[in-house]
Structure formats: C-alpha cells, structure tokens
Amino acid sequence: MKAIVVLITFLFSLFASNILQAQTINWENLKTEEKHILSVNAGWDYSFVYGFGYGYHLKTEMPIILESSFSFASGEVIFDDFKTKIGGQINVYQFNNFHFNAAIHAIYRRYGNPLVTLQNFGAAASTTIGYYKPKWFVAGEFGFDQAIVTHFQHSEIYKEVYPDVKNGWFEPTTGGNFNFGIQGGYSFAKSDLTLRAGKVMTEDFETTPLIPFYLQIGYSYKLD
C-alpha cells in the first residue's frame, strides 16, 4: 500500500505541476532510514496555487534528496496553469545545528488564458542557510527561476488584435525572477509543518511581478 501511495504521489507530482522552491525540509529531523518524503502545500506563488511533492532520500554521506513536485493555479479551469519540477537538493555543509543547502530543478510549466497558451522549460536554483533542531527549524532562502525557452500559441482573439503575431518557440530567455525570504517549521513524529514567505523581484532588481510576494504553507510526511 505504501509503495502505491509513494508511486501515485511521485507520478502525480512529476506529470501534473510545484511551487517556486524545493520541498521544505527539516534536515535535523530527517533520519537515515526515512527514504520517502511526501508533501502537500498551498499558498501564493504568482497566483494562489496548490502543490504536491515527492522526495527520495538517497543513502549518501552528504544528505541528498531527489524530488519532483507539481502545483496548479486556483481557478475554474484547473490544468491550464501549472508547474512541474524535477531535481534535487543537497545538504552541502553542516556546522553544529547550522545547515547550508543547495537545490537545483528543471521546470516545465504551462499558462493559458483566452488569448494565448504558453509552455515553458526553465530552471531554478536556490540556497538555504538555517538553524535546525529536531523539533523546529528556521532558515533564510534565496533563489533564481529562469524561463529559458517558451512556446507561444495564440488564440483567434489575439490574432484579431495582431494577425501577424508569431507562434512557436521563443528564445533565449523570456524572463527570470529572484526570490528571497525565510522558511521555518515544526516537526513531530514523522511529520513537518512548514511555512515559507518572501519577496519576488524580476532579474533587473528594479521591477517586480504584480504581486511581488510568495507564501507557502506545507505539510510533509516521511516514510521508511
């Protein structure tokens, strides 16, 4: 049964869509024998989103978690706006209860509205530095998310606006955003309750998205 739950969560998170960052993990509470990390979350990530994630804890000297995740934007049409991520995070360095972590993810995401459908391949990299205790943790985070190549497919409505509009792949990058903020959590038994919040800025550090903040509330459950 456990294997089925893990498999379903992994597949769902891989093929459907996630939040800006990696899974929020209490490294001090993560035991060697705990291999699978299932997570759910909700919050503001450009719009209101719901997310699922799966992480696999490798048995390595330096803790590494391979993960995939998926999130979708709230609204009447569920799967027109979503994001999938696959990648991993690593606990690079530990000094007493201080942990230095890095994460990198490949992204596939989709956006649809009455005028255009966008599909994008991107990448995100982030670091967290924090103080971790078995029952709680708090960390600062900094990340960058780049929309590397994007496919544009315009609807008839937009073709009325501009008949000569180009469809197809646009490259190089169509955009990029930095994020910085804090994360923290409370751990009990095999569970973590987590909170992340911060600010988003575009890559020029001068402009911002319309809502320049993110907020995520999450829950993780670990299985052996």
Partner: protein
C-alpha cells in the same frame, strides 16, 4: 549504462531544441505586438511636440473638429472607430493614439507628465485646424474622458463642447472610488490566475516596450471576465497597449495625486456625460458626482451596454452624441 543514458538525454534534448521552428526573440520588433509608427512608415502618423503619433482623420477638414480621446492610459483608438460615422454627418473626425499609446512612438517611463499630454493635444488641434473660427469638440472615453476634462480644466476657452463617456475619476479620490468598485478580485478565481500567473513566464525590464506591451495585452481578458462589474461582454479590438505610459501615469497618480476639477467652474458650455446601463461600477450616482463639477451638464444613460459602449452599442451612443454636437454646431 549511465553514460549511454546521459548521451541519449543529450541527443534527445539537442534534437528537441534544434528542431524548434520559428525561433524568435521575445523583444524582437513585430514578433508579438504590431510595430509602432516609428518602426513602420506605412502607418498614418503626424509629428508633433517632439513625438510621432499614430493618427487618422475622416471627413471634410473644414467642418467642426471632433477629436476622439481613447481610454487607458496606454490603450488606442481602435475600439472607438465607430465614431468615424460622424464624419458623414458634418464633422471632421480626428483619431490619434496618445503619446506612448497604441501605435504611437514609445518613450521612456520618466518622460511622461500630464502637462505633456495636454501639450500634445494642443499641438494635435493646431496641426489639423484649418481656420481660427473652426469649432473644436472633444469626445473622451474612460481615461480619454479624464484627459478631456483635464484639458478644459486647464484651457476652458479652447474647447467648444465636451462629451465624457464614463471618465474613471476626475480626481484621485474619484479614481480610487471607481477602482474599488470595478476591480474587486477573488484570489482563487481563474481571472486572477490569468492575470498574475504569467509573471513567471515573461518578465520585462523598464522600457522594454515590446515585452511589456505584449504582456499587458494578453492580460486584457481580465477586463471582460465573466460577471465583471463594468458590464463588458467580451473582447473589444485594440492594436497595442502602451504599458510604460500606463505605469508612468499610475505612478504619478499614486505619488503626486491629481485633480482635474479645480477650474471646471470656468467652463460654461454644456457637457454631455454618458454612462452605460450595465456598468455596475459607474451608474447615475457616479455620473452625478462627476457632473457636479461642471456648471452646465447633461447626463444620459446608454441602454444595453457597459463601459465599452462605443464599441458594443454605438447605435445607442450615436444619437445622443449627434444631438449634442448639432446643438453646439
């Protein structure tokens, strides 16, 4: 085995990216938004006040002038083209995309001011006027109606008649009131996702006009979302949104405020206010609040339409406007 898998992945990715058709750059001219008049010489334009404006005229140049002022800031006159019918009824109808708007030339964000766009209008009038006694009427929609009001507030003796179709606020207080009534958002709705989720796909730096204009343009479906308060039933045509001028005037309104009503008591000519029956955010009471700043005004309801009355119900707008103009002709 690992090397084979890695090699296969590289090959697949290479094939994928190399086979992509229509490689384009997002800030390429003419790729996602139409070219502006300084980029496309075939577009009709005029050079005035240090800029190049997309402009068209209809009718006999010696007839009384009717200048259409589009909404926005940043939109264009495409959805107001029904007004050209008045050219067949004795008026010289002039359309222009305001500075930095529609297909007019783009400028840097820090160059805009209210006085500058008033000066542009002065120059447009001067450019097209064929005689000193030629009457000049202004017909403004939404932001264009605010601009028309600002103009008569500043130059009450230069305009022979003023038609205002739902100005979104003649001062900062009224603008905020209108915004509060018309732009309530539900954070869980599809409309909100359509407006905001795109911010992770496309980002434009300040003055990257091709990107910023495109991004705002594709977000325009927000205005005609199902059950919108302004009674807008669907998309209306536009060429290109001038996002930088919109952001600039938004900043000016937020940082400096504005009041286009301070001198309106000097404008003795009757002003025609139009409001759409289906715009729940405007209505008779808001029209009365705005009309109260003018010594002489008339308020008319346009049946069966909302804020975009000129495009969707021109047949109901037309007789009201024509009657008003003919009485002042």
């Amino acid at each position: 085995m690992k090397n084979k898998m890695l090699y296969s992945a590289v090959v697949v990715l290479s094939i994928f990216f190399l086979s992509c058709e229509n490689d384009n750059e997002i800030d390429g001219v003419g790729k996602l938004v139409p070219k502006t008049v300084d980029q496309d010489a075939s577009l009709p334009s005029i050079f005035v006040n240090g800029t190049q404006l997309h402009a068209q005229t209809f009718g006999n140049p010696n007839n009384p002038m009717l200048i259409f002022l589009h909404g926005g800031p940043g939109s264009d006159y495409r959805n107001g083209l029904n007004v050209q019918q008045l050219a067949n009824e004795g008026y010289y109808v002039i359309f222009y995309d305001q500075r930095g708007s529609g297909l007019s030339k783009r400028h840097d964000k820090n160059t805009y001011s209210i006085q500058l766009v008033l000066d542009d209008l002065t120059e447009v009038i001067k450019y097209y006027r064929t005689s000193a006694d030629q009457k000049v009427f202004l017909f403004g929609h939404s932001w264009g109606a605010m601009l028309g009001t600002a103009y008569v507030n500043k130059y009450p003796d230069k305009i022979n008649g003023l038609i205002l179709a739902e100005p979104g606020g003649l001062n900062k207080k009224l603008l905020d009131d209108y915004g509060e009534m018309s732009r309530k958002i539900n954070i869980f709705s599809e409309v909100t996702s359509n407006l905001l989720y795109v911010d992770q796909f496309i980002t434009g730096k300040e003055n990257q006009h091709e990107i910023l204009d495109y991004k705002y343009g594709i977000s325009s479906s927000f205005s005609y979302a199902k059950n919108n308060k302004e009674g807008i039933p669907g998309p209306s045509p536009f060429w290109r949104i001038g996002t930088t001028v919109l952001e600039s005037f938004t900043d000016i309104a937020e940082n400096d405020g504005f009041d286009f009503t301070t001198n309106l008591n000097q404008y003795q000519t009757k002003v025609l206010f139009l409001y759409g029956e289906l715009n729940q955010s405007y209505g008779l009471s808001f029209a009365q609040k705005e009309a109260a700043y003018f010594p002489n005004s008339e308020i008319s309801e346009v049946k069966g339409t909302g804020h975009e009355m000129i495009y969707f119900k021109w047949e109901n707008v037309h007789p009201l406007v024509l009657n008003y103009l003919n009485n002042l002709k």
